[in-house]
């Protein structure tokens, strides 16, 4: 538990010191969103209809960059060996890094939402609480398996391309639920469906945050 906090603090410190990279990541997310808008063209209705989808696609693509980077810093100069020797328990390491990833994904999401609203001329019909809850739960759904898989990939040099491929099947339920919930929040939810989508996200998170924590230890040992 203490280890989790300390790893979280360490990762947040590193990201703060290297905040130019976070700015680059946000620029990437913004570019994606703008490209979507250009690709759709001046069809205002379509943009408004699918604003939720663009938001989450942008987040998903940004997440593959983020997840790869946050794990790579442990391996590029051999810091992982030092962590193993402290010794930092593997579960503490996992949850610390996953929480740090979650935090950063939420930051990217929080910065992306205003842009989506502007570019797609979207509205927020339901309360902002739903939107923020969706952002948090969706980001969590990406963070847990993403942290596990990025650790797997970081050991295999030169195989960064595998990460999006490996994450894709896992991420489908998250995307489906998050996009639906976001769209409902933006366009209106007459039948009160947002809750069931968020429930799905909660179940997904419960399963994967526990499963990945258990499996992480085997991934980082020699």
């Amino acid at each position: 538990m203490k280890a989790t906090l300390r790893i979280l603090q360490k990762d947040l410190l590193i990201e703060w010191r290297a905040r130019s990279r976070t700015v680059a990541l946000l620029s990437f997310a913004y570019t994606i969103l703008l490209l979507f808008a250009f690709a759709i063209g001046p069809d205002a209705a379509a943009l408004r209809q699918h604003a939720g989808a663009y938001l989450w696609l942008g987040l998903l693509l940004s997440s593959t960059l983020l997840l790869d980077r946050t794990m790579r810093i442990e391996f590029e100069a051999g810091a992982m060996s030092k962590l193993m020797l402290v010794p930092v328990p593997a579960t503490g390491l996992f949850y610390g890094k996953a929480l740090a990833n979650l935090f950063q994904l939420c930051v990217v999401g929080a910065f992306s939402i205003p842009l989506v609203f502007v570019v797609c001329d979207a509205e927020l019909v339901e309360s902002i609480g739903w939107l923020l809850a969706t952002l948090f739960l969706g980001a969590a759904g990406l963070a847990a398996p993403g942290t596990l898989y990025s650790a797997m990939i970081a050991r295999l040099s030169g195989k960064q391309l595998l990460l999006p491929l490996m994450l894709f099947p896992l991420v489908v339920p998250v995307m489906v639920a998050a996009v639906k919930a976001t769209s409902l929040a933006m366009l209106g939810d007459p039948m009160n469906q947002i809750e069931s989508w968020l429930t799905l996200l909660v179940c997904f998170n419960l399963v994967y945050w526990s499963l990945c924590g258990v499996l992480f230890g085997r991934v980082v040992e020699a």
Binding site: A3, I14, L85, V86
Partner: protein, 223 residues
Amino acid sequence: MDDLVQATNLGRRFGRRWAVARLDLTIQPNERLLIIGPNGCGKTTLLRVLSTLLPAHQGSINWFNGDTEPRKHIGLMGHDPGVYEDLSASDNLRVFSKLMGTEPGDTANLLQMVGLDDRSDPVARYSAGMRRRLALALLLQKQPRLALLDEPFAQMDPGGIAQVSSAIHALPGAVVIASHQVQHAAPLCKRAVLMDEGQIRWTGPADKAEAAWRALHKERGDL
């Protein structure tokens, strides 16, 4: 006196090649041991196995009389510096001390001992030699009962060599140094061991290490 570390018939392979084989080694508490040998003789592998990071494929090792959590008291200065490039030197020291659950203490002093200024630059801007000095500082901070140093003098300028030597003097506990630079490492050690092709060929006092090295070359016909 109980042995600090006891390795019996140690073996470790990579694929079909045994990097370390039939290796028996004991390390006494507070002993200073030098390991020399040609490139590829298995020094690095041996150090990594002794550090617990690499499991052995054969034989057994006993650390600290059967301690089940030996890692807490083992420090390794390996080929990679083991640092976070985005953080400054003192940031790195503070991060690791927090992870160990100890107070960071006087980071500026620690850095001075290895010849580093307490700059706020990220380590990414450091030269290779500076990074290794930071790795040594991290090792000093840990105060391990068993310190393993893999080529501590590599990439050091003459001033650096003097500083590394005095830093090694300041290490508590047992120190195992693997080094090609026998002339710098031997004065720091009491006992030496010569490895070749994964096995120990000779063991004796550290001041005879150079002679053993020459004998090996003679046997191989290099000289």
